[in-house]
């Protein structure tokens, strides 16, 4: 392996951007902040591409297997022999791919925001936060150590919090960022406990050593972790379940998904970067990173991953059909697609043909990053034009936003799995993997595919067709070149990313995997996609009252889907009625009466004592002299008669 220390630049450049703009942006750099951040990000992107290309085509493959390489490693905090927190860079197929995805989408968002966020009061702060996010996300994907990933995991959480709450003068944005932070933080508590369990049993925090120790059959660590049991589950199962809880929180899996739709309060490019393409797939990435442990030692947890993923995919797709805010539709769509990735991992096996799901999941992650980022950037352009998020304010925009219309259509085709677009290939692989493993999950995936196509085309027709759009007052124009260029580039990616032979690069065991393409498996999902799209066209192409009629005839279902199946209300009931009333009030009583009582008792007894004794300080000199004499006599008596 050649000298590759320069890889550290990938992390340092966005950090420089953050520090520079964070410290000097608002006062000295101002409008130039965007350009500076974009140039730094461009450099990051080029280094990432260079690194990934070199990894995949030159030194990554050793004897036909992609190895895990660690070009940079620094022991940051050593607890004992083997147990240390290291900071470093780990190159393997998935981290190299993620480097490209993260830096590409981040670069696109940087360029796009040059126009979209122009004239904002906190323009440079915005770019500083983007830099912080990019730094933490890149640090997350190249982590060598499970604690390193945890640090960067929290850092992306913080930057997500900061960016959701960017418009901090809106109460809804403040509530949303708080909600996102609390929900993911709650999940991360599970993640931390999971890390502690795993590291306790394996005696290491290093990914490579951890995976090796917990997967080698007959190793003492694995034996201990499997034999220790708590509430009927082994310690390893608990550890992996808790790690998956952290992953589910970040990736908005049911039932920890409630923060993602609200996170759409942030600026739209941020939604594209954080809540569609990169941060929310961190959970998928984490499961993929620990995949050998899941697949070889804890298959029951992998089943949980599969069922939760499949349920989330279907559940979110149903909700997405009833939402009217375009960003919320996209948010639920994101959740649904991440569910796809999760269950693809869940149905996968380790190594060989059975590892198809793993490759498919990473493939879908890659294509999804392209088309979902594109969808959000398009949504940004539309909102920029209409000044509203609501579908009812749109319609007939195809004449006003030709570029947006075209790119949005490509993204729609890609996400719906229309043949020859990228989503088709990745979705196909996922469904094939599911069919080989678990028929129930396959049906859920198939239904989701149909629903996906329906709600995406519902969105498409509602925005670009339907009723005619009337310009109010001033004539508005489509955003400038800096907004169109990223959309066009991502549209090319969304259209063509499917032709990358992913199996050659990414597989569960590092060996090249030939992906079988079977036409008979492709028929059902493609047919369902077309049906979904046609129904959407029938309902929404021309303005009519059919949608209202259908909504009225299915009013119970429609209403509950519109209200997101009352999950938020359920959480509020549990937290406010049950936890606050029962636990909170008891704690309050205990605090007021027991804790405060103890403190007050101390205070009042001290006071009583001091009132009783303060008369001694009378101000009369002779009285003091008597006390002194008394003390002296007492001492004399003691010395003479007692302590002889």
């Amino acid at each position: 392996m050649p000298n590759t220390t320069f890889i550290i630049l990938i992390l340092l450049l966005p950090l420089v951007s953050f520090v520079l703009l964070g410290l000097f942006g608002r006062k000295y750099i101002k409008a130039g902040s965007g350009i500076i951040a974009t140039i730094l990000l461009l450099a990051t992107f080029l280094v990432s591409i260079y690194t990934a290309c070199h990894y995949f085509f030159e030194y990554g493959k050793i004897n036909g297997v992609y190895e895990k390489l660690v070009p940079v490693k620094y022991t940051w905090l050593a607890f004992s022999n083997g147990l240390a927190i290291d900071m470093g860079v780990l190159l393997d197929p998935i981290s190299s791919m993620m480097l490209v995805v993260v830096s590409l989408v981040s670069l696109m968002v940087h360029i796009y925001s040059l126009v979209y966020m122009k004239g904002e009061e906190r323009f440079s702060t915005y770019y500083a936060f983007l830099g912080l996010f990019t730094f933490s996300m890149l640090g997350l994907v190249v982590s060598v150590n499970i604690f390193q990933i945890y640090f960067f995991w929290e850092l992306v959480g913080v930057s997500s919090f900061l960016l959701i709450g960017y418009y901090y003068d809106r109460p809804s944005a403040v509530a949303a960022c708080k909600k996102a932070f609390i929900v993911t933080r709650f999940a991360d508590a599970g993640f931390l406990i999971g890390i502690l369990i795993l590291s306790y049993y394996s005696g290491t925090l290093d990914f490579a050593a951890l995976i090796e120790k917990l997967t080698a059959p007959g190793s003492t660590e694995l034996g201990n972790a499997l034999s220790a049991s708590f509430l009927g589950l082994s310690a390893l199962t608990w550890g992996m379940l808790l790690v998956f809880m952290g992953a589910a929180g970040k990736s908005a899996m049911f039932p920890l998904h409630i923060w993602l739709p609200d996170a759409m309060e942030g600026p739209t490019p941020v939604s594209a970067l954080i809540h569609a393409a990169t941060m929310v797939v961190a959970g998928v990435f984490l499961v993929a990173r620990l995949f050998p442990v899941f697949a070889l030692s804890a298959p029951e947890v992998l089943n949980v991953v599969a069922y939760i993923g499949a349920f989330s995919a279907l559940f979110a797709a149903i909700i997405a059909c009833a939402q009217t805010d375009i960003k919320r539709v996209l948010a639920y769509s994101t959740m649904s697609q991440i569910g796809y990735m999760m269950f693809a991992l869940g149905v996968s096996k380790y190594g060989g043909e059975g590892g198809l799901g793993y490759t498919a999941s990473m493939f879908h992650l890659f294509t999804h990053a392209m088309f979902k980022a594109l969808l959000f950037l398009c949504a940004g352009a539309i909102i920029h034009f209409v000044h509203s998020n609501e579908m009812k304010d749109m319609g007939g925009l195809r004449k006003f936003l030709p570029v947006t219309h075209f790119t949005f259509l490509i993204a729609c085709l890609a996400i719906s799995g229309v043949p020859f677009f990228s989503g088709f290939f990745s979705k196909e692989e996922i469904l094939t993997a599911a069919l080989n493993h678990n028929i129930a999950i396959y049906w859920a995936g198939l239904a989701t595919a149909g629903l996906t196509s329906f709600y995406m085309f519902r969105l498409y027709f509602n925005i670009f067709w339907g009723k005619e759009f009337r310009q109010h007052g001033e004539t508005r124009r489509e955003g400038g070149f800096a907004m169109k260029a990223p959309m066009i580039l991502l549209a090319i990616g969304a259209a063509l990313a499917g032709y990358i032979p992913f199996g050659k690069f990414i597989s569960s065991d590092g060996k090249a995997l030939a992906i079988p393409f079977e036409l008979k498996h492709a028929i059902a999902p493609v047919a369902l996609s077309f049906v979904g799209a046609l129904i959407a066209a029938w309902l929404y192409l021309r303005q009519n009252n059919k949608p209202q009629k259908i909504a009225a005839s299915l009013s119970a279902l429609h209403q509950s889907a519109y209200r997101k199946f009352y999950i938020d209300e359920g959480y509020l009931f549990i937290t406010q009625k049950i936890i606050f009333n029962i636990v909170g009030k008891t704690a309050d009583w205990f605090d007021k009466n027991m804790v405060n009582g103890l403190v007050n008792l101390t205070a009042s007894s001290t006071q009583a004592f001091s009132f009783a004794t303060k008369k001694m300080q009378s101000g009369k000199v002779q009285q003091y002299a008597i006390y002194f004499l008394g003390g002296a006599i007492l001492l004399a008596v003691l010395f003479v008669y007692v302590w002889k």
């Binding site: 303060k614 101000g619 002779q622």
Partner: protein, 104 residues
């Protein structure tokens, strides 16, 4: 008539001491109290001299200590009188009962 022994001197010294204590506790006049303190000091001086003479006749430490105490008593008297004058200036009196503001 025999020479006065150690016990005679200790008796005088004890009498002086308790006279001083009594005066210090009962007199309200600061100057009188200062004089009582001098009595106590002198009783101590007498003790030193007596013990020196009767127990370690060849040595001089007791005598020197007495000289020190006399010197310090002179300094102490100077300080005490300065305090008394200040008390007089602020209270127009040197009655110790009048100067008792420094209390709880």
């Amino acid at each position: 008539m025999t020479e006065p022994g150690l016990y005679h001197l200790l008796f005088i010294s004890g009498a002086l001491f308790f006279a001083g204590i009594y005066g210090f506790f009962t007199r309200r006049n600061l100057v009188t109290m200062l004089m009582s303190v001098e009595l106590i000091l002198n009783s101590v001086n007498l003790n030193f001299i007596a013990f020196n003479k009767y127990l370690w006749p060849g040595k001089m430490e007791g005598l020197f200590f007495t000289l020190f105490i006399i010197a310090i008593a002179a300094a102490e008297a100077a300080v005490a009188i300065a305090i008394i004058i200040n008390v007089y200036r602020t209270h127009q009196s040197i009655d110790v009962e009048k100067a008792e503001e420094m209390k709880y």
